[in-house]
């Protein structure tokens, strides 16, 4: 249990065993469920590229607020747009949301964290304090700023979420690096005069990769929730591109008369977040054999 370890889900101390123990490759419960859900979403998103029952943005006055029926399997929203097609296309937005947010957070946060871990004297304080500052700039403010400067869209919203998640990645990468740097074989490599960046690439990165993967899947879930919240406040995906968050926001006023319109997107969001969180837990248990139930 290293002190000041990252509070993020991916606890660090399982690290000692990653390098040494023969991490038994075994699919545990969480991993299986997580992968199936995420797989389902990816599959739906891919299918939506080639086929959706209707064009999700096509407004059809006659089909307004249709209950689920043969023509519209999950019914139609107040614009007469097919709910199923929107959900399928929404899956695409959700994946896009996650990839952008996690990508940005990982690409910026990880090197920062490694830097902080490897150069404790000057880099550590700098990175940690800038982390605090980043934490103080709420993702919401960033989303509005980027939306205003570059035009509100899913991309700008997710850039903001990504940057707001940088501290989490930096923190994990830092504590992971601190752990690895104190390892004997790394000390040996440093003693042998290996340049720090070679060490970072050969030793540090592969070792904290599992933690980063776990954090990425959790961050994915958080990004999906953030998109829903931003849409609720009117800053999320640009209409008419379907997004689960905006579907939920638009159907909110119909909660009493057509509750299903809120149920589908709400369910989809919860399922996606659940899927990514389970994937996170599953990966954490998978990479950390000591939690292996069978032993």
């Amino acid at each position: 249990m290293s002190i000041g370890a990252s509070g993020e889900l991916a606890d660090v101390s399982g690290l000692q065993d990653l390098a040494s123990g023969d991490a038994r490759r075994r699919l545990n419960r969480y991993l299986v469920i997580g992968m199936t859900i995420v797989g389902l979403i990816v599959f739906t998103a891919l299918v939506s590229f080639i086929w959706t029952p209707y064009d999700p943005t096509e407004v059809d006055a006659e089909a307004r607020l249709l209950e689920p029926s043969t023509s519209h399997v999950l019914g139609a929203d107040k614009f007469g747009r097919d709910v199923l097609s929107q959900l399928m296309w929404g899956a695409r937005t959700t994946l896009f949301v996650g990839v952008v947010a996690v990508g940005v957070a990982a690409l910026i946060g990880t090197p920062l964290g490694i830097l902080a871990g490897m150069f404790p004297r000057w880099a550590d304080e700098l990175v940690m304090r800038s982390n605090d500052l980043l934490l103080a700039f709420p993702a919401l403010l960033l989303a509005i700023m980027f939306g205003a400067v570059f035009g509100a869209s899913t991309l700008t919203a997710m850039l903001a979420i990504g940057i707001a998640t940088v501290p989490a990645f930096a923190r994990i990468a830092r504590s992971g690096t601190l752990q690895v740097m104190s390892r004997e074989y790394v000390l040996a490599a440093r003693a042998a005069g290996r340049p720090r960046f070679a060490i970072a690439r050969r030793h540090v990165l592969p070792n904290i990769a599992p933690l980063l993967i776990v954090q990425s899947s959790v961050a994915f879930g958080i990004a999906v929730l953030a998109e829903a919240a931003l849409s609720f406040l009117g800053f999320g995906t640009r209409p008419p591109n379907p997004s689960w968050g905006r579907m939920l926001q638009e159907s909110q006023e119909l909660l009493h008369s057509a509750p299903l319109l809120s149920v589908w997107p709400g369910l989809a969001i919860a399922l996606a977040v659940l899927g990514f969180n389970l994937l996170g837990d599953g990966l954490r248990d998978h990479f950390d054999p000591r939690l292996d139930d069978r032993r």
Binding site: D11, L140, A270, R284
Partner: protein, 314 residues
């Protein structure tokens, strides 16, 4: 301890200054002119020029920054030219509302996460442990505003137990205040609690593997006693880190719940401020946020030292 304290305050001040430059830069780059926003569709070019002069936004950026930062250093946030009210008082009022809401939510969150997280970890093999862990997964997957909307639909519209919205300061009517606080605190607390439960579970799981727990049992403590007397305090460290993070993000993150329950909190103030291009207000709010987050982090570090003797420099 003195040099550390000195260094820490120096870093604190440096961070605040950097933050002020950052937020000022952000607002300077933000398109949309406050004067135009104030005059709206009834703006004539001359009027916009006059209002801009009145607001002082026609001065050069560095001058504006110096004026604002100068005021800030003596605690004067300036007067918002959009609402003509002192930014300081607005932030103060709204900060109290947000702090009460967030702390109430934190209490609900801890009341859920500590017991459930511990049990989920202690029985992570048995069905009940897995069920608890699954429940926390689902809880953490629900958007907070959805929880809010559903709670309102059931508990205030249907059952009429609680008001659906509004806020009464505690000193103006404690009964109303409490009844208006419950639903928003639960909406926020349940979702945050579900997230916290998973961290508590992971921290307790981690601690269960520690050798000193086995020593405790070898001393004659039952597994429960070992966990409670020895385990929980060690599990507190990562949980406190997460609590700090949650507290920092909720100061503004609660805006979603403020919007559903119409609570005049800091988040709504910030949101309105940005859409009205109320530069002084937004800059003021962000500065307060930066200081709040730095204080929270400082408290978290202090808690670390209180809990963990290894960190105390003898």
């Amino acid at each position: 301890m003195l040099p550390a304290l000195l260094r820490r305050t120096a870093v604190f001040l440096a961070s605040v200054v950097v933050a002020s430059v950052l937020v000022f830069g952000f607002m300077a780059v933000l398109p949309g002119d406050p004067a135009e926003v104030a005059l709206g569709v009834n703006a004539s070019p001359e009027a916009v020029a006059e209002v801009r002069a009145e607001f002082g936004t026609d001065r050069s950026k560095p001058v504006q920054y110096a004026d604002w930062a100068g005021g800030l250093s003596v605690g004067d946030f300036g007067v918002s030219y959009v609402t003509q009210e002192s930014v300081g008082t607005q932030i103060n009022e709204r900060m109290q509302v947000t702090l009460i809401l967030v702390l109430a939510a934190m209490i609900v969150s801890l009341a859920i996460a500590l017991p459930l997280g511990t049990i989920a970890a202690a029985r992570h093999k048995k069905a009940s442990g897995v069920a608890l862990s699954a429940a926390s997964q689902v809880g953490a997957a629900v958007p907070a505003f959805l929880a809010g909307i559903l709670l309102v639909a059931v508990f205030s519209v249907q059952l009429g137990w609680f008001p659906s919205s509004g806020w009464t300061p505690p000193d103006e009517g404690f009964g109303d205040f409490l009844r208006q606080l419950i639903l928003p605190a639960i909406s926020l607390g349940v979702v945050e609690g579900a997230v916290l439960t998973r961290y508590v579970r992971s921290a307790v799981l981690e601690v269960l593997r520690e050798d000193f727990l086995r020593t405790a049992r070898a001393k004659g403590l039952t597994p429960n006693q070992a966990l409670v007397w020895h385990g929980l305090r060690n599990a507190a460290i990562p949980v406190i880190t997460v609590l700090g993070l949650q507290l920092s993000t909720l100061l503004i993150g609660a805006v979603v719940i403020e919007r559903v329950y119409v609570i005049p909190g800091l988040g709504s103030l910030l949101l309105d401020g940005v859409s009205n291009r109320d530069l002084l207000l937004v800059q003021g709010v962000v500065m307060v946020l930066v200081v709040a987050v730095l204080i929270v982090n400082y408290l978290v570090d202090v808690l670390y030292v209180v809990i963990d003797p290894r960190l105390r420099r003898s």
